[in-house]
């Protein structure tokens, strides 16, 4: 068990200014044991969806099924779920032990000794045995987080729901807990829905990510699918840091070119046939742009764009270079050891294989990057690391 079916889920809030649709007819299937991340900007409906799955919100229309059981109108306690909240929501007047034991005490008939055993086991998994007799007020944020996770795993639920559980931790602890959470989830094999506004968490943690905006589903896919094959311009801009660069262009179907006030890029014949609009947006990820100061010797001079370097941000491993293209800013990441001087002029190369094209009006993706997204390409990379 642990398969979730969401069918046409709609959640409407009534406000004095009329109803607000927080989630609009969302269809989604989560497989057993999967780690699914809901991601999107504030107010996109990700938390509302999670709370509908939890039973903390009533559903306006649509249905939710756990395996074959409809739970749409069930109370939270009848859904066999555990949840981790952003502020942990530990009971302040109870010790860590009582916090973890509370769910078992409320929802099972276990004896005190059995409950204590299970609490100890969960505490060992979370490495908080020494903290069991402390109250939440005496614990640090990271420790409270561990207690909150302990409270969730002790229940041995069919489904974990996590609502931005790491966002109150400092950056270092967050990175550490991210890995730990993934390990924990793999170990337990419990279907997990994880809500975050942080695309890095989504990319690094999810088996699949669900991207939402304005209460509507934008894309469901593996992190690499969403990264390299974004369904639309919103997904392309949301996933990835620094974000994808966008340049508005007009397609000239007769000449087979993409025209921008300061440059022209060639357009392949096959693409020309696919276009049904001429208002397009070129998208290119910062790491897919290469820079050159000798355009004359470049193998693809017709895909070069002349730019001014405005700012450089050396990060150590990479350097973010900000370029000016006709008043618009383009971000490019280059190797950390490459020297780029602000104020200079460079040509940037936009490779056809890595370029994205979107319909300017609908945002729909017309062309994707051809970067590989299946994991079969990974073993090569691994062996490469070993030999290096």
């Amino acid at each position: 068990m642990g398969r979730i079916d969401i069918d046409g889920l709609t959640k409407e809030y009534r406000t004095p200014n009329g109803p607000i649709q927080a989630v609009e007819s969302l269809d989604l299937q989560l497989e057993d044991g999967e780690f699914v991340v809901f991601v999107g900007p504030s107010g996109c409906g990700k938390s509302t969806t999670l709370r509908c799955i939890a039973g903390l919100e009533t559903v306006t229309s649509g249905s939710i099924r756990f395996d074959e059981t409809a739970v749409t109108d069930e109370k939270p306690k009848d859904r066999d779920i555990a949840m981790v909240f952003q502020n942990y929501a530990l009971y302040p007047h109870m010790t860590a032990r009582e916090n973890i034991a509370f769910g078992l005490k409320m929802s099972t008939d276990l004896s005190a000794a059995e409950i204590d055993d299970q609490v100890e086991t969960a505490a060992e998994m979370m490495d908080i045995v020494d903290l069991l007799d402390d109250k939440p007020g005496e614990l640090s944020g990271g420790q409270q987080q561990r207690v909150a996770l302990g409270r969730a795993i002790v229940r041995d639920p069919e489904l974990f729901l996590m609502d931005e559980p790491l966002s109150n931790l400092d950056a270092k602890l967050r990175a550490q807990m991210r890995t730990e959470l993934q390990q924990l989830q793999t170990e337990l094999g419990v279907t997990t829905v994880y809500v975050t506004h942080d695309q890095t968490e989504a990319m690094t943690m999810g088996d699949r990510i669900v991207i939402l905006n304005d209460g509507r589903l934008q894309q469901v896919g593996t992190p690499l699918e969403c990264y390299h094959r974004p369904a639309n311009q919103f997904v392309a801009g949301f996933i990835g840091s620094p974000p994808m660069n966008f340049l508005e262009v007009d397609a000239d179907l007769e000449d087979g070119t993409l025209d921008h006030p300061v440059f022209t890029l060639p357009l392949s014949d096959s693409l020309v046939d696919e276009l049904d609009s001429t208002d397009l947006v070129v998208g290119i990820r910062p790491e897919h742009v290469s820079l050159t100061d000798s355009p004359g010797t470049h193998p693809e001079p017709n895909r070069l764009i002349e730019t001014d370097v405005t700012v450089t941000e050396p990060m150590g491993d990479v350097t973010n270079v900000y370029l000016d293209v006709g008043g618009e800013t383009i971000t490019v990441t280059v190797d950390g050891h490459v020297g780029v001087d602000p104020g200079g002029q460079l040509h940037m190369h936009v490779p056809a294989s890595k370029m994205h094209l979107f319909d300017a009006e609908s945002g729909r993706a017309i062309k994707h990057s051809e970067a590989p997204i299946d994991s079969s390409s990974l073993p090569e990379a691994d062996s490469h690391v070993e030999t290096a």
């Binding site: 939270p76 306690k77 779920i81 949840m83 530990l90 009971y91 007047h93 509370f102 409320m106 409270r151």
Partner: protein, 328 residues
């Protein structure tokens, strides 16, 4: 008035205070400023509370009676004689004093239970946030805002055996066969408790309501997911979360009722049935009708000590631990 404050401020600022108060001059500027702001309130407290307490304690060891009304300072010093007299349970006066204390405690506990249960119920209902709860909240506060003398007189009239609406109502629905004397005998304590609960529960309600509003909603959500039903949430989230505010409410309600004079005096006047002759009324009669000021003062100090002992036990047992936990 403004000039007085300016001059006062100058005097306080030029180190004048520091000369007389070495502790004060040792404080840093921020704390000195805080004390300057507190000064008017402290001065008021000094005049209204501190002086009468010391005065009362002084009179309790002096033979002040009707002979010394013109100049109490000329009364002889009698040591603890008054205390020995009023607290001797073998005398009529002493046994009535102790009886009045027991009635006071009984009444206070009754009021405490009544106000807490009614106040909590009302607060829980208000906290549901239904439409019009604002209006209901205001209406429920009325008994507390309305002048006590009006409310209490209305209650007294309602409790009257012949013309009172309570007997009338109970008889018309068949719960009573004949009128009951609500204001006589032991029943008087019930009547006085009911009237006082009515007067005081809005305050308890508003305190607990504020406490309820400060409970994070997420705790209820966590409890719902942990499998707690309505009762479980109330028992394991609401009540423990209300503990700090409840501690203060219970302590103040207990003390305020013990020293309340208005309710018994307005309802029963100077000659109440013995079941409602609480210590405050007894002291009043003793001091201001028999003019035995010295003995009355000794009784007051006695009541003060009883109240302090109860408050201290309660504070140690229920309140201090909460704040200590918070400090950690």
């Amino acid at each position: 008035m403004a000039r007085v404050f300016t001059r006062l401020h100058e005097r306080v600022s030029d180190g004048g205070l520091g000369r007389y108060l070495p502790l004060y001059s040792r404080l840093d500027e921020k704390h000195q400023y805080a004390y300057k702001l507190l000064f008017p309130a402290l001065a008021m407290m000094f005049v209204v509370h501190f002086i009468p307490v010391v005065w009362g304690a002084t009179i309790s060891v002096m033979g002040v009676n009707s002979n010394y009304i013109a100049d109490w300072t000329s009364a002889p010093f009698v040591g603890l004689e008054h205390y020995a007299f009023v607290m001797d349970p073998t005398t009529t006066i002493g046994s009535r004093y102790w009886y009045s204390i027991s009635r006071t405690v009984l009444w206070s506990v009754g009021v405490l239970v009544g106000t807490y249960v009614l106040g909590l119920t009302a607060a829980l209902i208000l906290n549901q946030g239904f439409k019009g709860s604002f209006l209901v909240r205001t209406l429920l506060l009325l008994p507390w805002i309305a002048p006590a003398i009006v409310t209490l007189n209305v209650w007294r009239m309602m409790f009257l055996s012949e013309s009172g609406i309570i007997n009338h109502a109970l008889m018309s629905v068949g719960l009573l066969d004949e009128p009951v004397f609500w204001l006589l005998g032991d029943r008087a304590l019930w009547s006085m408790t009911i009237a006082h609960v009515w007067l005081q529960f809005p305050w308890v309600m508003i305190m607990l309501y504020a406490g309820l509003q400060s409970i994070p909603q997420q705790l209820y959500e966590a409890a719902a997911i942990d499998g707690a039903g309505r009762w479980g949430k109330f028992r394991y989230v609401t009540l423990p979360q209300l503990k700090p505010v409840s501690g203060v409410v219970v302590l103040l309600m207990l003390l305020w009722t013990m020293i309340d004079f208005t309710t018994p005096y307005v309802m029963f006047g100077g000659s109440p049935p013995s079941s409602v002759e609480v210590t405050m009324v007894y002291i009043y009669n003793f001091s201001f009708r028999a003019f035995a000021f010295g003995r009355g003062a000794a009784m007051s100090v006695g009541l003060f000590v009883v109240a302090m002992v109860l408050a201290t036990i309660y504070y140690r047992r229920f309140i201090r631990s909460d704040f200590e936990e918070d400090d950690q």
